[in-house]
Structure formats: structure tokens, C-alpha cells
Chain length 143, copies 3
């Protein structure tokens, strides 16, 4: 692997950390992914609300769709979830949504740990019902 | 070019996509730009409100100024709008502002597509009237 | 140094700029750090509020803890505050908190200038009392 998790004093398996404090890129190729949500990756601009008719209200289902979307981008770039080095999560209404989002995402990320940041924003751009947007930077093998 | 747009199944010209789902850096030099707004790039710290007296209220004019600011940073770094690989847009009051912002930015970006994320935040730091901050990562030719 | 500050016309020492408009990476290794706050870097997931019992309310003290946390990550990665190339600051209630945060951070950053972005978010994920999260990208010497 070209990436190396960065840890400081104090790590312990019982914390069950879903991310690593830092991650070092030792080579390979960076991939920047656009923010993905539960809405289809490709859609009209300006937005046509009808294209988002099947966006689920459930935060866990939204996380599932967003991770599938992110996975498809990473796969197309020659990587996968294990290629993510930086993941920013923009979430609406953390109190209501973060537990289900975390549960679903843990299933997709498996043992992989990326540098990660989570903040609560007012809303997301594509559709007002969306509660999660994932923005990733990844490193994939070079040519 | 050292950058390669990443696409997954489903792309179609009729979506008129203003960004690419992912973008791969194959070489060259990364440039990280500070967030830019319609306020002057250089200003006093702590802030002096009088320096922002001519910040326009109109979101389209703000987008124009912010893009000019970003362009000047990218040019100084040896690149241009076509060098952007990641663009995060922090916007205040999406419902009111995003359509004019999108129109203006499309004119500056032309055919270039970067990985992009847009979220609605509470406010921006430099001045409470600002509604758009653009944060870019770019790749410019090596020495 | 492998990093080069990018400046456009108009810079002047009297602005006392706490960041550089852009920064170019000419070599070395990128480090992405997770968002850090005044809460301990390692903690249980799902969160256990009791682990955050000593998070200070004072924004200046929060900035001090967050910078100590960030410093420990950067040191573990082979760098330091001077290695930061991109710094995103997510702040709650800018009007109340940004002045003390800026004062404390200036002391840690010294003469170093990174590309920087600051936005006001609704809240941060780890604990509802937190008012500052710092997300950094850094470049450290290669092996």
C-alpha cells in the first residue's frame, strides 16, 4: 500500500475508532471525488426536482445510496473504499441522523480508516431532503 | 493534460453537468488555494469592516468577484480555471443565491469540469454580507 | 522547503495576513489530517459524552487544545505546524468565537502561512459544546 495511517500516543482497540487521525501518501495517484449524496450522480443542471423523486427520507438509506455512489466513482478511478485518504461528511441535523449514517458507513468501510471530518451544515445543494454529502480524496495505483 | 476526468456509467450531454464526479491527477504540482469571496484577497486582520465597503449584495456580482479573485491566485501559481481539480463552494441561503452563482460561474469555467461539492453554511467569516466562498485545489505544470 | 507561498499583486505587511492566498507543493509527501477539536483525538464510537467532560467552554482554550491535537498528529507524521498547506476551520458562532480563536492560533502558527478557509457551521459532531474544528492537509519530507 502507498498509504500509511498516522497515529499518536493513546490509540486503543476499545475506542473502535472509525477513522485514523492522519494518513500519509507515499506515492501513487491522488483522486479527488465530487461530493456524493443519495441523489443520482448525474442529473440536470439547473436541478429538476422530479429527478430526485426517489431520494429516501431515511438517513440510513441515504447513507447506503451515497456510499454506493462514492464506490462507483472510486471504482471508475481504479480504486475502492480502501483508497480513500480524506473524507469530509457534511450532515444535516446531526442529532437525528448521525447514528444511522455511522452504522451504515461502517459496514462499507470495513477495516479501512481514512482521515475524516464531520460537520453539521444548514442544508445540501442538490435537494432539500438530503441529509448527507460525502466528499472524498483517494489515492489509487499509478499507471 | 495531467488530469483525467473520472466518469461512471450514466453520463449524458443533456444533463449539462457543471462538474465531473471525479478527477485523477497523473503528475504535475498540486496547488491549494485559500477560500476566496467577493471581498479583497488581502485585507487587515483582525478585520476592518470599512475595507469591505464595496462588497456587492447581488449574489451574481459576488460570484464574479470571487471568480476573479480565484483566477488571480491560480494565474499567480502558473495555472488558471482549467487547473482546478477540487472546488468546494460554501454558500449562504442556497435557495436565494445558487441560481445566479451557478450562471456566473459557468461562464468562467467554460468547458472545464472539476470535482465539486456545494453546501449551505450559516455564514462566512470575512463579512456577514458574503454569500459565497470558493475553496480550490489545482494542479499546475511542474518546473 | 518543498512548499512555495503563492501571492498576487497587493500584498503588504500592514495587512498582517494570517494565511497565504495559495501554496504550491513542489515535492515531498502530502499528509491529510482528520478534523481535530478540543476533544481528545481518540474516543469511543458511538460517542460517550462522559469522555468529553473536560471540554472547555472558552473558545480560546478550545483553540489551544485543538492546536495541540493537530500538532501531535503532524509531529507523528514527521512534520509540524509549518508543514500545513491547507487548513479549513469550521467554527460555530463566528461573532462570539472567532477573535479569541484567531489570537490563540496566531501564536501557534508563528510565521507560517497556509492556504486557509473559515466558515460558520451549525454544530460539530463530537460534542455540542465544541466551537472549532480544524482540518489540515500537510506536506512532510519524503523517506
Amino acid at each position: 500500500m502507498n498509504i500509511e495511517p498516522i497515529h499518536v500516543e493513546g490509540n486503543d482497540p476499545r475506542w473502535n475508532m472509525p477513522y485514523t487521525p492522519g494518513i500519509k501518501v507515499r506515492g501513487g495517484h491522488l483522486v479527488f471525488a465530487s461530493g456524493v449524496t443519495a441523489a443520482p450522480i448525474y442529473h440536470s443542471h439547473p436541478h429538476v426536482p422530479a429527478e430526485f423523486h426517489d431520494v429516501p427520507d431515511d438517513p440510513g438509506l441515504q447513507a447506503e445510496r451515497a456510499m454506493e455512489n462514492l464506490g462507483s466513482v472510486l471504482t471508475a478511478a481504479g480504486g475502492g473504499f480502501g483508497s480513500i485518504v480524506q473524507l469530509i461528511r457534511f450532515i444535516v441535523d446531526l442529532d437525528r441522523n448521525q447514528d444511522s449514517i455511522n452504522r451504515v458507513m461502517a459496514g462499507y468501510l470495513g477495516e479501512h480508516r481514512a482521515a475524516s471530518t464531520t460537520v453539521e451544515v444548514v442544508r445540501l445543494a442538490t435537494d432539500p431532503r438530503l441529509v448527507l454529502e460525502l466528499q472524498a480524496v483517494a489515492v489509487v495505483p499509478g499507471d
